[in-house]
C-alpha cells in the first residue's frame, strides 16, 4: 500500500467495529451514552453478551474473519462482575488472545478491551471514539478477513 492512497483511504474509510458488550454494565453504558445525547462515532456494532467472560475467542476470530476492522470487548470493572469472577476469567483469556493475535502479526490496535460500567456513558463514547480514530489510521483490516 503506497502512502498517497493510504491518505485518501484514511479520509474516506469508516472502520467497522464489532463490540461485545456485557449486558450488566457496558451495554447499559452504551445506552446511557445515547440517552445522554453524547456525540460519538457510530462505527461500532454492539452485540450484547451475558458477561465478558462468556466471550469465546471464536467470536473474535470470526468477527475478524467476516471483515471487522476492530473488535472491542467491554465488561464490568474488576470486582463488579455480576457472576463474581467472569471478568477476571475474561481478562486472562483475552490477554492470551491479544498476545496471540499480535504474535501472528495482526495489528495490535485492532483488538481492544475496556471496563465500562453502566454509569460510564461518557467513557464508553471515549473508548469507541479513540478506537475509531486509531483504526482510521490503520486502514481496513485485510489480514484475517476472508477473501472471496
Amino acid at each position: 500500500m503506497s502512502n498517497p492512497s493510504k491518505t485518501t483511504e484514511v479520509q474516506s474509510f469508516e472502520p467497522r467495529i464489532v463490540a461485545f458488550l456485557c449486558k450488566w454494565c457496558s451495554s447499559a453504558g452504551s445506552d446511557l451514552a445515547g440517552v445522554s445525547r453524547i456525540q460519538y462515532s457510530a462505527n461500532a456494532t454492539p452485540i450484547t453478551i451475558p458477561c465478558s467472560g462468556s466471550v469465546s475467542p471464536m467470536y473474535i476470530l470470526s468477527a475478524f474473519n467476516k471483515g471487522a476492522d476492530g473488535v472491542l470487548i467491554s465488561g464490568c470493572h474488576p470486582g463488579d462482575c455480576h457472576y463474581m469472577e467472569g471478568n477476571y476469567l475474561a481478562r486472562r483469556k483475552l490477554y492470551l488472545v491479544k498476545e496471540l493475535l499480535q504474535f501472528i502479526g495482526l495489528e495490535s490496535e485492532r483488538f481492544r478491551m475496556s471496563w465500562v460500567s453502566a454509569a460510564e456513558g461518557a467513557k464508553f463514547a471515549e473508548v469507541v471514539d479513540e478506537f475509531v480514530e486509531d483504526l482510521r489510521v490503520l486502514g481496513p483490516q485485510n489480514r484475517l478477513k476472508a477473501k472471496p
Binding site: P57, M58, L61, S62, N65, P78, E85, Y88, L89, R91, R92, K93, Y95, L96, V97, K98, E99, L100, L101, Q102, F103, I104, G105, L106, E107, S108, R112, M113, S114, W115, V127, E130, R143, L144, K145, A146, K147
Partner: protein, 346 residues
C-alpha cells in the same frame, strides 16, 4: 545412559504380572529411520521395544484413543495401560489427569529421561540433507548423531545440537516428573537454549514481518488435520471448526445441525486456516505440554509449535502457570489472580 533392556524388562514384568493390559512403546518400523509407535500385549513382544532419540511420538495420544474406544465398547476393558513417556509425554499424561480424562491408577508411566539430548527434529534433518532421506540414525554419544543418507555411501556426523528439536533444546524438564518408574539419569537444567527461545525470536520480528511469515504458513496449510489428529489434548468429539460431524440422533434435532455455526470453512484459504490454527492454539493454552507433535507431523512444515509455545510463554511469565506440572492445580483459563495483567484494558 538409558539401558533399553531395563525398559523391556519392566514392560515385560508389567504384562507378566497382568498389571497392565498393554504397554505403549516404540519399535523399529519399516517406514523410516525413526521409530514407530507400538502397543504390546504379550511378554514376548517386549524385546522389540527400542529407546533412542528417534522415538518422536507422544504416545499419550493412544491413552486417549483407548479411553474413547472403551467408552463405546460393548464390553469395555478398562484395565490400566503402561506408557513409555519422555518428560513432555509425561506432562501430557499430567494434563489428561488434571482434566479427569482418566485416573492415575489407569496408567503406568514408564518414564524415560532424555538426559543430555532429546529427539531428532525431522525438519532440521531434512534441511541438513536438503530433502534426502535418512536411512539410519545412530548415536555415538550425547553430542553427535550419525546419519546414513539414503542413496549415499557415506555416513554424516551431525552435532546433536544442530538437529535436536527446538522443544528439546528449550526443555525445562527432560526427566518425567510424573512417573511410576524412571529410567536414565535425572537431569535438572541443561545448557541448551533458554526456555521459549524460538517463540521469543519470532516475537522480535516486526509486525509486518510476523504477518508475512504467518500468512505464508496459513496459506500453505492443506487442512489434513494431522496436527489435530496427533494431539493428545485435541480429544473433543466434535471439533469447533468442524460443524459437519454433528450427528442427528433421537436425542438431537435437525435444527441443531442446521444451525450449527460454521466458524470456518473447509477451504484451505489463508483466512480459514488462520481461524483453524488460532482456535486450536487458544484451545490448547495452558494445556499444551510442548511435545511438538503438531509441528512434526505437518507435511508442509508449518511451525505450529510456535503458536502454542507463545501462549505457554505468556502463561508462564504472566500467570506462573506450567501445563502438566501439577495435576491438582486449577486449569489456566478457569483460574485467575488479582494481579493478572490489567494495563492492556482501557
Amino acid at each position: 545412559m538409558v539401558n533399553v533392556e531395563e525398559i523391556r524388562d519392566y514392560a515385560a514384568s508389567l504384562l507378566e504380572k497382568e498389571e497392565v493390559k498393554a504397554v505403549l512403546g516404540f519399535r523399529r518400523g519399516s517406514a523410516s529411520a525413526f521409530a514407530e509407535p507400538c502397543t504390546i500385549t504379550e511378554v514376548g513382544e517386549a524385546a522389540s521395544l527400542v529407546w533412542d532419540p528417534t522415538c518422536l511420538n507422544n504416545l499419550a495420544l493412544y491413552l486417549v484413543k483407548d479411553r474413547k474406544q472403551q467408552a463405546v465398547a460393548k464390553t469395555p476393558d478398562n484395565r490400566p495401560v503402561g506408557i513409555v513417556a519422555k518428560g513432555c509425554d509425561s506432562r501430557a499424561v499430567g494434563v489428561l489427569l488434571q482434566e479427569n480424562f482418566f485416573k492415575r491408577e489407569d496408567v503406568v508411566v514408564i518414564g524415560v529421561s532424555c538426559e543430555g539430548t532429546g529427539v531428532v527434529d525431522s525438519n532440521k534433518l531434512s534441511d541438513k540433507l536438503k530433502g534426502k532421506t535418512a536411512s539410519r540414525i545412530t548415536f555415538s554419544g550425547a553430542d553427535d548423531i550419525n546419519v546414513s543418507v539414503y542413496g549415499d555411501e557415506t555416513e554424516t556426523v551431525i552435532p546433536a545440537q544442530e538437529i535436536l528439536a527446538d522443544r528439546c533444546l528449550e526443555c525445562r524438564a527432560a526427566t518425567p516428573t510424573l512417573h511410576d518408574v524412571v529410567f536414565g539419569d535425572t537431569v535438572e537444567a541443561r545448557d541448551f537454549n533458554e526456555p521459549f527461545h524460538a517463540a521469543k525470536e519470532a516475537e522480535s520480528a516486526s509486525e509486518d514481518e510476523r504477518w508475512a511469515t504467518w500468512e505464508h504458513h496459513f496459506d500453505r496449510c492443506l487442512r489434513c488435520f494431522a496436527c489435530r489428529a496427533v494431539c493428545p489434548m485435541c480429544y473433543c468429539h466434535e471439533c469447533v471448526v468442524d460443524s459437519t460431524t454433528f450427528v442427528v440422533t433421537l436425542g438431537t434435532s435437525a435444527e441443531e445441525k442446521a444451525n450449527r455455526i460454521r466458524w470456518c470453512e473447509r477451504s484451505a484459504n489463508t483466512s480459514e486456516s488462520a481461524v483453524y490454527h488460532l482456535t486450536r492454539a487458544i484451545h490448547l493454552a495452558g494445556r499444551c505440554i510442548d511435545c511438538g507433535e503438531c509441528e512434526r507431523v505437518c507435511p508442509v512444515n508449518i511451525p505450529l509449535r510456535l503458536l502454542n509455545t507463545k501462549l505457554e510463554k505468556e502463561a508462564f511469565e504472566m500467570f506462573e502457570y506450567q501445563a502438566g506440572h501439577d495435576i491438582e492445580q486449577a486449569s489456566l483459563l478457569s483460574s485467575f489472580r488479582d494481579e493478572d495483567p490489567n494495563s492492556f484494558i482501557r
